[in-house]
C-alpha cells in the first residue's frame, strides 16, 4: 500500500503555508520599505517577532502536544539561541566601531590590541576587560550560527538524557525543566558568567556590515526570514509527526509503559524529539532577538516558558496549527491590551483599565479553556472539519490522556 505524501495527509499543512505566504506578501506590500507604508516599521517588527514566537510554539507543541512532556524550560533554548547570535552581532559591531576609533591613533593597532579594546568596550559595564572564554568564536558568524543550534541542542541532550534515563516524568519533569531554566537564568545574571550579567546583550538590531540598510528594510528582511523559518520548520515538524515515528511518540504520550513493553526504546524517541524541539526553538530565538534588539537573562525566567505553554494550550495541543494560532493570537492580544491602546471597558460601577486587568482576564480565560475546551482553538477546526473522536462515554480529556475518556480516567 502506498502512503500519501505526508504533505497531503492533512489539508492543514498546505493551508498554514498558504496563509503564511499571503500574510508575508501582504505585510511586505504594505510596509514602508517595499510598499505603501500603511504598516509602520515597528508593527512589521512585531509581526516578525510573533512569527518567531509561533515557531517556538510549534516546537513546544512537538514536545508537549505530541510527546506529552510539559517542558517549562523551553524559553531557555529560545534565549540561548538569541545569546549565541547576539554574541556575534555585538562583537562584530563593536569591533567595527572600535577599529574606526583606533585608526585615529598614530600607530596602527595590533590584532591583540583591537581584541582588548573590543572586550573593554563590551565588558566595561560589568567591570571586566577580558574576553571570556565563551566568546572565543564571537568573531565568526558561521561558527556562532552553528552554536545557535549546537549549544541548546547539547543542553537538551544532556538534560534530557539525565532526566529520561532516571524515568523522571509527569509533574516532576515539568518542575525539573523549570528548575533548569531558572538555574540558567541565575547563572547568566552573574556578572562574571561572561554574558554581561543583567545588562544582557544590546544593540542587536544593528547588523554589522549592513550599516547602509535602514531599519524599515531590515525589518521586512527579518519578517521574510522568520516566515521562511516558520514554514520550513512547520513542514519538518509535520513530517516528524506524520509517519510511524509520529505514531510512536503519540503512543508514548498516551501510555509510556505500554510502548516500552512493546519494545520501543522510549528514551531514545523522547531524546530525539526533545533535542530537535530545542534546536528549532533556538533558531526561533536567534531570529527573534535581532528584531527585539536586546536580550537579558530575564527572558529565561520560568514565567516566559509557562506563557509559551499557555499559548499552545489555548491554541490547541496536539495540532501544529493550533500552536501557531495560539501563539499569534495570544501574544498579539497581550501586546495590544498591555500596550495601553485597548479602549477601557466601562462597567458603570467600575472602569476596567486593560493594562491592569488583562493579566487577570488572561489567567481566568486560561483556566476556562483548560476546563471546558481542552482542545483549544484548534478544537473549533476539528469540529468544522467533522473530525470527531468516536463517542466513548464522557468528555474528551484532550491530547495528554487521549487514550482515556473522562469516565475511564476516573476509574
Amino acid at each position: 500500500m502506498t502512503r500519501k505524501p505526508f504533505i497531503l495527509q492533512s489539508p492543514s499543512i498546505l493551508v498554514v503555508l498558504a496563509v503564511l505566504a499571503v500574510f508575508t506578501v501582504a505585510v511586505t506590500v504594505l510596509s514602508h520599505a517595499y510598499g505603501s507604508g500603511v504598516i509602520p516599521t515597528s508593527t512589521v517588527k512585531v509581526f516578525g517577532m510573533t512569527l518567531c514566537l509561533a515557531l517556538a510554539a510549534v516546537a513546544m507543541d512537538l514536545v508537549w502536544g505530541y510527546l506529552g512532556i510539559l517542558s517549562l524550560g523551553q524559553m531557555a533554548f529560545f534565549a540561548l539561541g538569541g545569546y549565541m547570535i547576539g554574541q556575534w552581532l555585538m562583537y562584530a559591531r563593536t569591533e567595527s566601531i572600535v577599529a574606526v576609533q583606533l585608526a585615529q591613533s598614530p600607530i596602527p593597532p595590533t590584532a591583540l590590541e583591537l581584541q582588548e579594546a573590543v572586550a573593554n568596550q563590551i565588558f566595561g559595564v560589568v567591570g571586566s576587560a577580558d574576553l571570556p572564554l565563551v566568546w572565543s568564536f564571537a568573531h565568526s558568524l558561521p561558527l556562532q550560527m552553528l552554536l545557535v543550534v549546537v549549544v541548546p541542542g547539547l543542553l537538551a541532550l544532556v538534560f534530557g538524557w539525565l532526566a529520561f534515563r532516571s524515568r523522571v516524568n509527569g509533574v516532576y519533569l515539568s518542575i525539573l525543566t523549570q528548575a533548569m531554566t531558572l538555574a540558567l537564568a541565575l547563572w547568566l545574571f552573574q556578572n562574571d558568567s561572561g554574558f554581561r550579567g543583567n545588562n544582557g546583550l544590546s544593540g542587536l538590531q544593528n547588523l554589522p556590515g549592513l550599516e547602509g540598510v535602514d531599519q524599515a528594510t531590515l525589518s521586512v528582511w527579518f519578517l521574510w526570514a522568520s516566515a521562511a523559518a516558520l514554514g520550513v520548520f512547520y513542514l519538518l515538524a509535520a513530517w516528524v509527526v506524520s509517519g510511524k515515528f509520529g505514531s510512536v511518540i503519540r503512543a508514548i504520550r498516551d501510555d509510556e509503559t505500554r510502548v516500552r513493553f512493546l519494545g520501543y526504546p522510549v528514551e531514545g524517541f523522547k531524546l530525539v524529539v526533545f533535542t530537535l524541539a530545542a534546536m528549532i526553538t533556538a533558531v526561533a530565538g536567534a531570529l527573534y532577538y535581532p528584531q527585539a534588539g536586546i536580550i537579558n537573562p530575564a527572558e529565561l525566567m520560568p514565567i516566559a516558558s509557562i506563557y509559551l505553554a499557555v499559548w499552545v494550550a489555548i491554541g490547541g495541543r496536539g495540532r501544529l496549527y493550533g500552536a501557531v494560532i495560539g501563539a499569534v493570537v495570544v501574544s498579539l492580544l497581550s501586546s495590544w491590551f498591555t500596550g495601553g491602546r485597548a479602549p477601557d471597558l466601562n462597567l458603570g460601577v467600575y472602569v476596567v483599565n486593560w493594562v491592569d486587568w488583562w493579566q487577570v482576564a488572561l489567567g481566568l480565560s486560561f483556566v476556562l479553556v483548560t476546563l471546558f475546551a481542552p482542545k483549544g482553538i484548534a478544537g473549533i477546526f476539528d469540529r468544522l472539519a467533522g473530525v470527531m473522536p468516536p463517542s466513548r462515554r464522557g468528555l474528551d480529556l484532550g491530547a495528554d490522556q487521549g487514550a482515556l475518556q473522562e469516565q475511564e480516567a476516573k476509574a
Binding site: 600607530i107 528548575a179 531558572l182 509557562i306 486560561f366 483556566v367 483548560t370 476546563l371
Partner: protein
C-alpha cells in the same frame, strides 16, 4: 545637655565657696584664649594637659568644651552653658552673660576626651565611666593604661569586667615591655572578640621587601617565592621596580606611546607606520631607536630574570620583637580555629532558619501533591495572600502584637477558603490530569498576582513585627540570630507537631493517609476521597497563608512575594519525596542547609549559589528519583 547642666550644679555643690577662683586655671586660660577659640587638633594637646592639671574646675571646663557647651564672651570670659550660665574659671553663676558658642571639631574633641578619660575612669556616674571606656577602646597611651590599672576596681561588675579586658587589650597595644605584652596576648589567646582580633592585626601587619639577604635586625615573618601564589611574578617585578632594583620594563602601552613620539616621515626606526600593527615590527622599531640612541634601553626579560635571581623576597613585621609576633601569630591561629568553629555554628543556625521557611512554604504543597498528585502553581500566591492579610490586619489594628495574633488565624482562614474554592471550581474537574491542573493553577496564579497588584499597588508593603521580635539573640561577635528567625523556627516546629498530630491521631489524618495510599480502596471503605482531597487542599493552602505572614515579617510584601519561594518549595517537595511529612522536613533541611553552605563558600555571589543548588538537585534526582523518603507500596506506582 542635661548631663552638663547636672554637672554644673554638682560642681556648684562641690565648691563650697563659689567665689573661690582657680588662679592656675585663670592663668592658663588667659594665656591661651586664642587657641581655645580656634583650636587645632595637632597643637591643642599640651594646652589640654595643662588645663586638666589645674584641678576639678579645669576638668569641668574640658567637659563643657568637648560637649560644645562652652561659649566665649566678648570680654574674654568662658561660660559653661546652663540656666543661668556658669563662669568656667571661677565657678560663679553668671546670670545674663552671653557669649558665642565654641564648636571644636571632632579631632579636637578626641584630644580633649582622651585627656579626660583618666579622670573619668573613677567617676561616680557609671554612664560616664562607660563612655570613658568607650574612648579608651578606640586606642590609648601608656599613661592612660596606667590610669586604667589604678582604677580597675569598679562597683558595677559588668564595668569591672570591661575594665579588666580593656587593660589586657591596652597592654597588648602599648604595654610597658614586651614580656608584659606577650603575657597579655597569651591571656587572651583563643578569644574571638572583634576587639582582640583588631588588637592583634597591627602586630601582625607585614610589608614585603626585596633584598639579597635578610635585613639585619628585622623581624622576618617569612620568605616569599616569586611566581608562587603569594607573590605572582608581576608583583615581584613591581616590587623590584619600586625599590629601584630594576628598570621599569616596557609595557605594550608604553611601547606604543614611545613609538608614536618618534614618527619621522611616516616611519619609526626605518619601519613604515602601517607595518606597526604586529608586535614583532614594534619590537624591531624600538630596537632600531635604541641602537640610534634616541630612546633609553628598557629592561629586557633577561634583566628582569637576573634581578629576580639576585634578590630574595621577605615579609617583615612592623613589630620588631619576634617574641611578641610569635605570641600574636599563635593567638591569631587559635582565634581563627575557634572562629571557624563558631562560624560553622552560625551557619548551622542560618541554615536551620532557612530550612524552617522552606518547610512552612512547602508543607502544604507536599500534602496536596501526596494526596492528589497535583502541583498547585498558585501556592506561591496563597503565600502572598497570607502576607497581604497580615498587612491589612496591621493597618486596622495598631498594636503589633495583637495584630499578629489576629492575623495568623485570619490568614489561615482566608487561604483555607481560597484553597477550597480553587479545589471546588477547578482542580476537582481536572482529576487525574496533573499537567492540566498545573497549567490551570498557573492561570489562577497570574490572575491572583495581577489582582494583588491592582488592589495593593506595585510598591512593597511593610509587615512590621512587634517590638519583642525585633533585634537578635547574640551569643558573641560571631554567633547571632535574629529573633524573627527564631520565631519562624518555633512556628515551623509547632506546625510540624500539629501536622503529625492531625495525621497520626485524628480521624481526618487516618482518612487522608488512606486516600494517599489507595484512593479506590479508601472509597470502598466508605471514605469520601473528594471531601478528603478538598480538606487537605484547604489545609495545605492555609499553612501557605501562615508561611506568608512568617515570610512577610522579614521580607517586604509584594505581589511577587510567593514567586520567590515557589520554585524552592517545589524543589523541597521533589527532593524530600511526597506524601510524608518527614520527607518534606528532610528536603527542607537539605535545601536550606545546602544553599547556606554553598553561599558561605562564595559569599559574594548568591546567584551562583542558587545555580549550583539547582544543578545539585537535578543530579540528586538521578539517584533518588522519588526523593529522600519515597512512597512505598502500591501508592508509589501511581
Amino acid at each position: 545637655m542635661t548631663r552638663f547642666r547636672l554637672l554644673a550644679c554638682a560642681l556648684a555643690l562641690i565648691l563650697p565657696i563659689p567665689a573661690l577662683a582657680n588662679p592656675a586655671l585663670q592663668a592658663v586660660v588667659d594665656g591661651n584664649i586664642d587657641q581655645i577659640e580656634r583650636p587645632s587638633r595637632l597643637t591643642v594637646g599640651p594646652l589640654v594637659a595643662e588645663i586638666a592639671a589645674t584641678g576639678p574646675e579645669g576638668l569641668a571646663l574640658l567637659q563643657a568644651w568637648a560637649g560644645r557647651d562652652l561659649s566665649l564672651t566678648d570680654d574674654g570670659r568662658l561660660l559653661i552653658a546652663g540656666d543661668p550660665p556658669l563662669d568656667a574659671v571661677t565657678g560663679d553663676l553668671a546670670p545674663g552673660a552671653e557669649g558665642s558658642a565654641l564648636r571644636p571639631n571632632s579631632g579636637v574633641r578626641g584630644v580633649i576626651e582622651s585627656a579626660l578619660v583618666t579622670g573619668l575612669l573613677s567617676d561616680p556616674d557609671p554612664a560616664r565611666r562607660a563612655s570613658a571606656l568607650d574612648t579608651l577602646a578606640r586606642g590609648g597611651t601608656f599613661e592612660q593604661l596606667q590610669a586604667l590599672r589604678g582604677a580597675l576596681d569598679d562597683p558595677d561588675p559588668a564595668l569591672a569586667a570591661r575594665k579588666a579586658r580593656l587593660e589586657r587589650l591596652l597592654t597588648i597595644q602599648v604595654g610597658e615591655d614586651n614580656a608584659a605584652r606577650v603575657n597579655a596576648i597569651n591571656d587572651l589567646a583563643g578569644d574571638v572578640g572583634l576587639d582582640f582580633r583588631a588588637a592583634l592585626n597591627p602586630l601582625l601587619a607585614t610589608r614585603t621587601v626585596a633584598a639579597p639577604e635578610p635585613p639585619d635586625g628585622a623581624n622576618v615573618a617569612r620568605e616569599l617565592t616569586p611566581g608562587g601564589d603569594d607573590l605572582p611574578r608581576d608583583a615581584a617585578l613591581a616590587q623590584l621596580v619600586q625599590q629601584d632594583l630594576l628598570q621599569p620594563p616596557l609595557t605594550r602601552d608604553g611601547l606604543r606611546g614611545v613609538l608614536a613620539q618618534h614618527i619621522v616621515d611616516g616611519k619609526v626606526g626605518g619601519i613604515p607606520v602601517a607595518d606597526l600593527s604586529s608586535p614583532d615590527a614594534r619590537d624591531r622599531a624600538y630596537e632600531a631607536l635604541e641602537a640610534a640612541g634616541t630612546v633609553p634601553p628598557a629592561a629586557t626579560d633577561a634583566e628582569a630574570e637576573a634581578a629576580l635571581e639576585a634578590n630574595r623576597f621577605f615579609q617583615l613585621y612592623a613589630e620588631t620583637d619576634p617574641a611578641v609576633t610569635d605570641a600574636a601569630a599563635a593567638a591569631q591561629t587559635r582565634a581563627q580555629v575557634r572562629l571557624a568553629a563558631m562560624t560553622t555554628i552560625d551557619l548551622g543556625l542560618d541554615a536551620l532558619s532557612l530550612a524552617s521557611i522552606y518547610f512552612l512554604a512547602a508543607i502544604g504543597l507536599a500534602v496536596t501533591f501526596g494526596v492528589m498528585r497535583v502541583i498547585n502553581m498558585a501556592h506561591g500566591e496563597f503565600i502572598m495572600m497570607g502576607a497581604y492579610t497580615g498587612y491589612t490586619v496591621q493597618t486596622l489594628i495598631a498594636d503589633r502584637t495583637l495584630s499578629l495574633i489576629v492575623a495568623l488565624p485570619l490568614a489561615f482562614a482566608m487561604t483555607f477558603v481560597a484553597g477550597v474554592v480553587l479545589y471546588r471550581l477547578v482542580i476537582r474537574h481536572l482529576a487525574h490530569r496533573p499537567l492540566e491542573t498545573l497549567l490551570a493553577t498557573f492561570g489562577v496564579s497570574i490572575a491572583l498576582q495581577q489582582l494583588a497588584k491592582n488592589i495593593f499597588g506595585t510598591q512593597a508593603r511593610p509587615l512590621t513585627s512587634p517590638a519583642w521580635l525585633e533585634g537578635s539573640i547574640t551569643v558573641n561577635d560571631v554567633i547571632g540570630v535574629s529573633s524573627i528567625r527564631v520565631a519562624i523556627f518555633v512556628l515551623a516546629l509547632m506546625f510540624l507537631g500539629l501536622f503529625l498530630f492531625i495525621m497520626k491521631r485524628t480521624r481526618l489524618g487516618l482518612e487522608v493517609r488512606a486516600v494517599t495510599q489507595n484512593p479506590g480502596m479508601a472509597a470502598s471503605m466508605g471514605i469520601n476521597p473528594d471531601r478528603i482531597a478538598m480538606l487537605t487542599f484547604g489545609l495545605g493552602s492555609g499553612i501557605a497563608g501562615i508561611a506568608g505572614i512568617a515570610i512577610g515579617l522579614f521580607a517586604q510584601v509584594t505581589s511577587e512575594l510567593g514567586q520567590g519561594y515557589i520554585v524552592q518549595s517545589f524543589m523541597t517537595v521533589v527532593v524530600g519525596g511526597v506524601g510524608n511529612i518527614w520527607g518534606t522536613l528532610a528536603g527542607a533541611t537539605l535545601i536550606g542547609g545546602l544553599s547556606k553552605v554553598i553561599e558561605s563558600l562564595n559569599p559574594a555571589n548568591t546567584l551562583a549559589a542558587q545555580t549550583f543548588m539547582i544543578l545539585f538537585i537535578i543530579i540528586f534526582i538521578q539517584f533518588r528519583p522519588r526523593g529522600i523518603i519515597p512512597q512505598r507500596g502500591r501508592a508509589a506506582e501511581a
